[in-house]
C-alpha cells in the first residue's frame, strides 16, 4: 500500500495524518535532497517500479537456475534496445490516454513514418534533417486530424483512431509493398551504437520520456491534460479550452509514433510497410500505459509509470528468451501479466476508496 502512504502524508500524531509535508520540510531540507525526495516520490507513486525490481529479481533467479547469466552486458543491451521503440510510442500514448482519449492508429503511423522518413532520406546525409522534420510533421498532421475528429465531430476515440488506422493502412498498401528508401549511415549507426552495454538510442527514449513527463508535470498545459482527462465538465466550468488540450494530446501522441518509426528505420536500414503492425504497437502501447498505472479513463497516471512498464515488458521478454521459451508462449504469458497487474491495481483502488470515504451515510 505504498501509494496510500505517499499520497496522504503522515504528519504529527496529533493531526489526522493529512498535514502537508512540504510546509515543514521545505525549510529544513536542502535543494538536493528535495530533488531526491521528489524523484523518490515519483517512483514510489508508481508501483510498477517495485514490480520491475521484483521481476528483475525473479528473472535473475530463474535464469541462473536455468544455467544462464542474467546480468551479462549483452542482456542489458538487449533489454534497453527493446524498450526504445515501444517506449517512445507508449510515452505518447500516455498523454493521449491521460487526456481521456486514446490512439489506435499508432502502428500504421509508425510504418508510414519509417517509409516516409527512409524514402526522403534516400541514403543521403544532407537529407537527414529535412526527412526527420518532414516525418514529424506528417505525424503531427495525423495527430491533428485525430484530435479534430474526436473533439469537433464528437466521434468516440476508439472509432476515430481506428478509422484513421484504416486510412493510413490503405495509403501504405497502395503506395508501398516492400522495404523502401534507405537510411544514411549516421542515422543507421544511431540505431546500433553503444556506449559499453548501453545503446545510444536509449537516450532518445529517455529524452522523450523526460520532456513529455516534465511537460505533464510542470507546465500549465500538462496540468490541463490531467484536468480534462479527470473531469471534462469541471474543466469546462473552470474555463479550460478542453478541445485544444485533447487535440494537442493527440498531436504529441502521433509525433511520438512518428519518432518511433524513424528509430525503427534506423534499425532496419530502410522503411518497411509492416514494421508497425508486426510489433503490435497499438495494443502494446496501451497495455504498457495501463500497466504503468495510468487509468484508462484518464486523469491519473505518470510517464514514469509507463517507462517502468515498458522496462518490465522488456525484461520479461528477455527472460523468456534466455529460457528459450517459445515466442508464442511468451505472448500468452504477457497477456496473463497484463490482466493480473490491472486486477491488482483495481483491487487496491477499491480498498483505498473504502478507507478514504469511510462512512458515506445519508
Amino acid at each position: 500500500m505504498s501509494d496510500t502512504v505517499r499520497d496522504a502524508p503522515t504528519g504529527s500524531p496529533s493531526s489526522n495524518g493529512l498535514e502537508d509535508p512540504g510546509a515543514r520540510s521545505g525549510a529544513t531540507r536542502g535543494r538536493a535532497s528535495a530533488i531526491v525526495g521528489r524523484t523518490r516520490d515519483a517512483f514510489a507513486a508508481t508501483p510498477i517500479w517495485a514490480a520491475l525490481v521484483g521481476i528483475v529479481g525473479i528473472g535473475w533467479v530463474v535464469v541462473t537456475l536455468d544455467g544462464g547469466t542474467f546480468f551479462a552486458s549483452g542482456n542489458l543491451t538487449n533489454i534497453l534496445q527493446r524498450s526504445v521503440a515501444l517506449g517512445i510510442v507508449a510515452v505518447g500514448q500516455t498523454v493521449a490516454i491521460l487526456a481521456g482519449s486514446l490512439d489506435l492508429s499508432v502502428s500504421y503511423l509508425i510504418s508510414l513514418a519509417s517509409l516516409v522518413g527512409a524514402e526522403t532520406m534516400d541514403g543521403r546525409e544532407s537529407m537527414l534533417v529535412p526527412a526527420i522534420l518532414l516525418t514529424l510533421a506528417v505525424g503531427a498532421a495525423v495527430g491533428l486530424a485525430n484530435g479534430l475528429v474526436v473533439t469537433k465531430l464528437r466521434v468516440n476515440p476508439f472509432i476515430a483512431t481506428l478509422g484513421m488506422a484504416l486510412i493510413l493502412r490503405g495509403y501504405i498498401e497502395n503506395n508501398y509493398d516492400r522495404p523502401t528508401g534507405s537510411v544514411p549511415e549516421s542515422w543507421e549507426s544511431f540505431g546500433y551504437t553503444r556506449m559499453g552495454p548501453i545503446p545510444v538510442s536509449i537516450f532518445l527514449f529517455a529524452g522523450v520520456a523526460l520532456i513529455v513527463g516534465t511537460t505533464l508535470r510542470r507546465t500549465r498545459f500538462g496540468y490541463h491534460v490531467y484536468a480534462v482527462g479527470g473531469d471534462e465538465q469541471v474543466s469546462v466550468l473552470s474555463g479550460l479550452r478542453t478541445h485544444r488540450v485533447v487535440i494537442a494530446a493527440h498531436v504529441i501522441c502521433s509525433v511520438c509514433a512518428a519518432l518511433t518509426g524513424l528509430f525503427l528505420a534506423s534499425r532496419l536500414g530502410s522503411g518497411t510497410p509492416r514494421v508497425g503492425t508486426d510489433g503490435g504497437y497499438d495494443l502494446e502501447s496501451i497495455a504498457a500505459v495501463v500497466l504503468g498505472g495510468t487509468a484508462l479513463a484518464g486523469g491519473r497516471g505518470r510517464v514514469a509509470g509507463t517507462v517502468g512498464a515498458v522496462l518490465v515488458l522488456a525484461v520479461l521478454d528477455n527472460v523468456f528468451n534466455q529460457l528459450e521459451l517459445d515466442p508464442f508462449l511468451k505472448q500468452a504469458v504477457r497477456g496473463v501479466v497484463i490482466i493480473a497487474a490491472v486486477a491488482v491495481y483495481a483491487q487496491r483502488r477499491k480498498g483505498r476508496q473504502q478507507v478514504a470515504t469511510g462512512t458515506a451515510a445519508a
Binding site: D7, A8, P9, S15, N16, L18, E19, D20, P21, G22, A23, R218, T219, R220, F221, G222, Y223, H224, Y226, A227, G230, D231, V234, S235, L237, S238, G239, L240, G299, R300, A356, G358, T359, A361, A362
Partner: protein, 561 residues
C-alpha cells in the same frame, strides 16, 4: 422594488444595526452607497414551467444573506442564474452598481461571483493546490510556478484558519467537509466578492458544521457578500444577517435575522396548516401482525437498530443528513447489509445480503435518487415496470401468469402518453409512479420509501401520499424516510428518529416538529417544550428551530441540469 407583503426589511441591503460584521472595511455602510449585489425582478422558466418569478434579492459586502424555502421553491435555480449557469428570462443582476449579463459561469467568475455547489466541482486525482488554481495556474512561459502555487494556497488556507490539510494533499484523500473547504479556498482565490453556498452543510457532521459556520463568518468579516442557501434553520440563525424566504419561485419575505423567529420563517415557507392535507392515519385496530422486525442491526454506519413495522402501518424515519437513514433502508433491503443483528420478515429470520435476497423476501425499495438508481431512463414505461419482475429475484413469490402492466400503471394513476414511452420524458411524479409500479409488480409485503416525493410538484405529492396509505391499508408494512417534516409527521403512524447511526427515540403520531428536531439533533425531549421555545438551559434561541427542514435534507427537489 419589493414585491410581496409589507415586511420588515431594510432598503438597499444594509444589515440591521448591531448584527453582523465587525470590521466592515467597505464603504457599504447601512443605507449609503451601492450594495455589492442586487438581483432585480429575476424570472426563469424551463420548458414552459415557471421556476422563478420576479425575485428581488440584495446583499451587501460584509453580509451573510440566507435564502430559505421548501424543496422546489427555486433557491438553487436563483443561485445558478447568479452564477452564470442559466441566463435569466427576465430581470437583471447588478454588481457594485454595474449591470451584468452572464452567459457562462466563467463570466460570472470574472465579475467576482463564486459559487460552491453541493456536488463539488473538484478533480479528485489532483492535489488541493492544483484544484484551487485549475485554469489559472501561476507561472511564466507556460511553466507552472509550483512553489508559488503552494504558497498562495497555504496562505489562503491560513486565512481561513484551516489546519488539517495542506496544498499537496490529493483531494480524494479528503473528507467531504475538507473538500468543501477546498471549494471555499477556490472561491477566495478567485478574488470573489460574492460567494454563494448551496446547502453547504448537507453532508457534514455536527462538529464540521460549526467549523463551516465559523468559516462563513470569517468570509463575511473579510468583506464578502455571502449568500447562504439552507434548509437548516439552526444554522441560518447562527450565521445569517438577513433571511429571504422563497416559495414556489417567488420572494415571499425578507427578514432581518435578529427580528424574526424560526416559527415565522416556517409559516412563510410553508404557508399552510401542516396537517390538513394528508390522508388519515391508521387506527390502532387497523394494524396487523409485525411484518418487518430488526433486532440489534449494526454495520459500519449503524448500531443497535431495533425496529418493528406492522401490516397497515407507516413508520417514518427521521434524522439529520448523515444520521444513517438511507443506510438503514439499504441494510434492511440487503444492498448494504447489516453485519450483525437479525432481520425477520413475516416471522421468518432472513439473511439479506443482496438486493436479490431482499426482493426474494418480499421487500421493495424506492431509492432516494430515482433517476440514478430507480429507473432505466432509456427504456419504456412497460420495460421499467417489469424490470424487477423479470430479474427473477422474486421467483419464489411470483404467482403464475403475466403481469398486467396496464392494471399496475392504472393503480398508480400514472399519466403517460403510452406505455411504450421512454421514461426519461416523464415528469418527476410520473417517474416515481413507474418506480412504484415496478415494485408493486412483485406484490411486496414490505415497502421502503426513501424521500418518496422529492422533486415532485404539490399535486403529484398528494397522489403519492394517498397511494402510500392505500398500500398500507392493503396490509403492507411501510417505512418512509423523509426530510420534509410536514410530510413525515403528516403521514407517519409512528416516527423513529435516528441520530449518528443509532435510534435516538420514537415518537407517536402527531408529534411536533420541535420534538422530532430535538431528537434528531441529539437533545432530549425534555429540553423542548411544546411552543418550540427552549427550556432554559436547553440551548440558544433559534437553536431548536421549528423549521421545515432543520432535519434538513439538502439535495432539494431541483435537479442539476
Amino acid at each position: 422594488m419589493a414585491s410581496g407583503p409589507d415586511v420588515p426589511h431594510h432598503p438597499d441591503g444594509g444589515p440591521a444595526p448591531g448584527v453582523g460584521r465587525a470590521d466592515a472595511a467597505d464603504d457599504d455602510a447601512v443605507g449609503t452607497a451601492v450594495p455589492r449585489l442586487e438581483m432585480r425582478g429575476i424570472g426563469k422558466a424551463f420548458l414552459g414551467t415557471v421556476v422563478l418569478a420576479d425575485v428581488d434579492l440584495t446583499c451587501a459586502a460584509g453580509e451573510v444573506h440566507a435564502v430559505v424555502g421548501e424543496n422546489g421553491a427555486g433557491k438553487s435555480t436563483l443561485m445558478k442564474v447568479l452564477a452564470g449557469v442559466h441566463p435569466p428570462d427576465a430581470g437583471e443582476i447588478v454588481i457594485d452598481g454595474v449591470p451584468h449579463t452572464f452567459h457562462h459561469p466563467v463570466q460570472a467568475q470574472a465579475a467576482g461571483v463564486a459559487i460552491i455547489y453541493q456536488e463539488f466541482n473538484l478533480l479528485p486525482e489532483r492535489t488541493v493546490a492544483e484544484n484551487v488554481w485549475v485554469g489559472r495556474e501561476p507561472g511564466r512561459f507556460g511553466l507552472v510556478d509550483r512553489a508559488r502555487m503552494r504558497a498562495d494556497t497555504q496562505r489562503l488556507l491560513d486565512e481561513l484558519g484551516e489546519r488539517s490539510f495542506g496544498p499537496r494533499t490529493p483531494v480524494r484523500a479528503l473528507s467531504v467537509a475538507q473538500q468543501q473547504v477546498v471549494e471555499v479556498v477556490k472561491a477566495r482565490s478567485l478574488d470573489a466578492r460574492i460567494v454563494v453556498m448551496d446547502e453547504p452543510t448537507a453532508a457534514l457532521a455536527d462538529d464540521e458544521v460549526d467549523q463551516l459556520l465559523a468559516l462563513v463568518r470569517r468570509l463575511r468579516d473579510q468583506g464578502l457578500a455571502v449568500l447562504y442557501i439552507s434548509h437548516r434553520l439552526r444554522e441560518v440563525f447562527a450565521v445569517a444577517d438577513r433571511i429571504t424566504v422563497l416559495k414556489d419561485g417567488r420572494r415571499v419575505d425578507t427578514f432581518s435575522a435578529a427580528d424574526t423567529t424560526a416559527g415565522r420563517l416556517v409559516k412563510s415557507m410553508v404557508g399552510r396548516e401542516l396537517d390538513a392535507y394528508f390522508p388519515d392515519r391508521a387506527a390502532p385496530d387497523e394494524l396487523g401482525a409485525v411484518r418487518l422486525a430488526v433486532r440489534g442491526g449494526a454495520n459500519a454506519v449503524l448500531d443497535g437498530i431495533d425496529l418493528d413495522v406492522r401490516a397497515g402501518e407507516i413508520v417514518g424515519i427521521a434524522g439529520l443528513q448523515g444520521a444513517g437513514r438511507t443506510e438503514l433502508a439499504r441494510a434492511v433491503f440487503g444492498a448494504a447489509p447489516f453485519t450483525s443483528g437479525t432481520v425477520e420478515i413475516d416471522g421468518r429470520s432472513r439473511r439479506l445480503r443482496s438486493p436479490r435476497a431482499g426482493i426474494g423476501a418480499g421487500l421493495g425499495f424506492l431509492t432516494e435518487d430515482r433517476k440514478a438508481e430507480g429507473l432505466v431512463l432509456g427504456q419504456s414505461v412497460r420495460d421499467n415496470t417489469l424490470l424487477a419482475r423479470r430479474s427473477g429475484a422474486a421467483r419464489g413469490r411470483r404467482r403464475a401468469g403475466t403481469t398486467d402492466v396496464e392494471a399496475l400503471t392504472r393503480s398508480t394513476e400514472l399519466r403517460a402518453a403510452s406505455l411504450e414511452q421512454e421514461v426519461r420524458f416523464l415528469s418527476g411524479g410520473n417517474q416515481q409512479k413507474v418506480v412504484l409500479a415496478k415494485w408493486l409488480a412483485l406484490e411486496p409485503g414490505v415497502l421502503l420509501f426513501d424521500e418518496p416525493t422529492r422533486g415532485i410538484d404539490v399535486g403529484a405529492k398528494a397522489a403519492i401520499h394517498d397511494l402510500m396509505r392505500d398500500l398500507a391499508r392493503q396490509g403492507r408494512a411501510i417505512v418512509m424516510i423523509s426530510s420534509e417534516l410536514p410530510e413525515l409527521i403528516g403521514m407517519s403512524d409512528r416516527i423513529v428518529v435516528l441520530h449518528e447511526g443509532r435510534i435516538a427515540g420514537e415518537l407517536p403520531a402527531g408529534a411536533t416538529e420541535q420534538q422530532v428536531i430535538a431528537l434528531a439533533a441529539g437533545h432530549h425531549l425534555d429540553d423542548v417544550d411544546e411552543t418550540g421555545d427552549a427550556v432554559p438551559g436547553g440551548g440558544a434561541p433559534g437553536d431548536d428551530a421549528a423549521g421545515g427542514g432543520a432535519t434538513g435534507d439538502a439535495t432539494g427537489g431541483e435537479p442539476r441540469p
